[in-house]
């Protein structure tokens, strides 16, 4: 039987901050979204204060009396990405096969390893803790869905001490745990699907596991059928060690201050296209179209509202920042209406195709590879000397619209001039 583990970092962003701020250990810490709007991560102590995930920070702060003893930090993605890389590389040492599922969780295939899975889980939990300072929980089971469920148990119930192996449980015990898990908490069952299942009497993971798979397929989908089978211990989902290439690449941000000038909107759109085009080239794709979106602040009820988007097609697919930005700005000029205070803009690269199978346009003059070489050089320079070392002038240098990140911690592990300080 297969032995799969899901390893997940606890309160990942908050834990990354605490790893370099020992004074914040065991204290309420929250990390705020881009633009310091909403709470996106909470330490255990912040959860205990009743701060909810996704809650607007100004609300939580008022409720707690100017924030109380809570430390609120802007998100520091350079730090989280580096810590994630460390954890994932370390975990990869423990198993022959790894699927990185998100920035803070991965599946490991422990099938056939000589060590007892539970003991191995405890060993890797201790190792990650010691090497990186980050706490993780480990869920183990014969399928991905059960490993995910075991991970949830390990997180919720301190009795497991961070490692839950459903594969080692007696069948009756496993059923008891499945019965205690609401169907909405099962991996792959969203809230809407959950309420439909509940309406049919399937309230727990055990109810879903016991349902007739063929009926589930007819009533819902093959995805729900597979989930039910996986809950019974029948593997339907394999580990994917290479993530599929993205079909669309998006970049959008709220502005730090309302924007009215078209030039500033153009700066923002150019910046977003540059960022997305970099990702596009990293996966060796080209985009056939660019979508542009702008909107005013939906929460400012008394201000005039405007929200619109537009897709601009390209004569032939491209990964050249200049070509994509020109197309996006053409779209922006058509979208823009004066007299509004814009709060957000975004772009989306669409119709992605592999660059290796470029389809030339009959009516466009033969393109040389100079653009490609320029982009490759640009990417290399920016990788080596830091993001936006070289950028399109149209992306702006002052960026009055840029996000508020009033309280970002230093990028402790990626910048020479922001290293943590040791007194002596």
């Amino acid at each position: 039987m297969a032995v799969l583990a899901l390893v997940d970092c606890n309160s990942f962003y908050a834990a990354c901050e605490q790893a370099f701020r020992p004074d914040l250990l065991d204290r309420p810490v929250v990390v705020l979204s881009n633009n310091d709007g909403c709470v996106v991560a909470r330490s255990k102590e912040a959860k205990a204060l009743g701060i909810r995930m996704g809650e607007p920070w100004f609300q939580a702060r008022q409720r707690l009396g100017e924030g109380g003893a809570v430390t609120a930090l802007s998100s520091n993605y350079a730090l989280y990405a580096d810590m994630s890389r460390r954890v994932m590389r370390l975990l990869a040492r423990f198993a022959p096969c790894q699927e990185i599922y998100s920035i803070d969780e991965c599946f490991l295939d422990l099938t056939g390893l000589p060590e007892d899975p539970g003991a191995l889980g405890r060993r890797l939990r201790d190792t990650v803790r010691r090497w990186t300072g980050l706490p993780v929980c480990v869920g183990i089971g014969p399928t991905k869905t059960l490993a995910k469920l075991a991970n949830r148990l390990a997180k919720q119930d301190a009795g497991w001490e961070g490692v839950c192996d459903l594969g080692a449980c007696a069948a009756a015990d496993r059923d008891r745990w499945l019965a205690a898990t609401p169907v909405a908490a099962v991996w792959g069952i969203g809230p809407r699907l959950a309420s439909r299942l509940e309406a049919l009497g399937m309230r727990s993971a055990l109810d879903l596991a016991g349902a007739d798979p063929r009926r589930l397929q007819r009533t819902f989908s093959v995805v729900v059928e597979r989930t039910a089978l996986e809950l019974r211990g029948v593997p339907c989902l394999a580990l994917e060690d290479l993530p599929p290439d993205r079909q669309q690449i998006q970049c959008s941000r709220s502005f730090g201050a309302p924007v009215t000038a078209p030039r500033e909107l153009a700066e923002a759109v150019t910046t977003f296209v540059s960022r997305a085009a970099e990702k596009l080239r990293a996966q060796r794709s080209e985009a056939g179209a660019v979508s542009v979106m702008i909107r005013t602040n939906l929460f400012a009820a008394d201000a005039p509202q405007y929200s619109n988007s537009l897709v601009v097609g390209l004569p032939e697919p491209s990964a050249d920042t200049r070509v994509l930005a020109r197309a996006a700005l053409r779209g922006l000029r058509r979208l823009y209406r004066p007299g509004f205070r814009y709060a957000k803009a975004g772009i989306l690269l669409l119709a992605l195709t592999p660059a290796a199978r470029h389809q030339a346009d009959l009516f466009t003059p033969d393109r040389s590879d100079r653009g490609e070489r320029l982009m490759a050089t640009l990417d290399r320079i920016n990788r080596r000397y830091g993001r936006e070392t070289i950028l399109l002038a149209g992306a702006g240098l002052h960026r009055r619209w840029a996000m508020h990140q009033a309280n970002r911690s230093p990028r402790y592990t990626t910048r020479w001039d922001e290293l943590p300080v040791a007194r002596c």
């Binding site: 010691r130 079909q247 119709a351 290293l419 002596c424």
Partner: protein
């Protein structure tokens, strides 16, 4: 565009695009069929995906050196057989990269151990802090660099400078070692 279409919706067939009938010499049917087989979308690919999934090349392309020295008539370079990669400082400074962190020194209590203000410390969190080693410890919520020693049966943090007394921990203070200092990077 208002013309009524019959058959399955465009783009949902085997090739995800319109198809047409074509004459092929009998001897070439197998060749064409084999080629079309390759164009078939992989199961699980999104309908709007390209006709085949791209194969992603490995992160670092390794080119096989056919002849890395310019080919000249005459005596071949005697160095060609002994070519080596350049020395990688990480091998020395960060053998366990995942557990290695850099910290900046502020203060002068460790000058006797060769650690000066402004130096960069290489700290390995995977190592066990044995007595006698220089460690980064957490004292009152701050990182402090000191030598971990044992005095009268108690762990204690010792400076390497005559002006600084050792830190003996009060009973309510817990000694937390954050990592072990393995190297000092300094300008000379």
């Amino acid at each position: 565009m208002s013309e009524k279409k019959r058959g399955r919706p465009a783009g949902t067939g085997r090739y995800r695009e319109p198809t047409q009938v074509m004459r092929v010499p009998s001897s070439q049917v197998a060749v064409v069929r084999g080629y079309l087989e390759q164009l078939r979308p992989l199961p699980g690919a999104a309908p709007e995906a390209a006709v085949a999934r791209p194969v992603r090349p490995p992160d670092r392309r390794r080119l096989l050196p056919l002849m890395t020295w310019p080919v000249r008539a005459g005596f071949p370079s005697p160095a060609e057989d002994d070519r080596d990669d350049a020395i990688d400082l990480n091998e020395l400074l960060a053998p366990r990269a995942e557990a290695t962190f850099l910290l900046r020194v502020s203060g002068s209590s460790m000058t006797g151990a060769g650690i000066d203000d402004g130096d960069v410390l290489v700290v390995d969190r995977s190592l066990t802090a044995d007595y006698g080693r220089i460690v980064v410890a957490v004292v009152d919520g701050e990182f402090t660099v000191k030598r971990l020693v044992r005095r009268d049966g108690k762990a204690c943090l010792e400076a390497s400078h005559p002006d600084f007394p050792p830190i003996t921990l009060r009973d309510d203070q817990e000694l937390a070692v954050w990592g072990v200092v393995t190297r000092v990077i300094k300008s000379v």
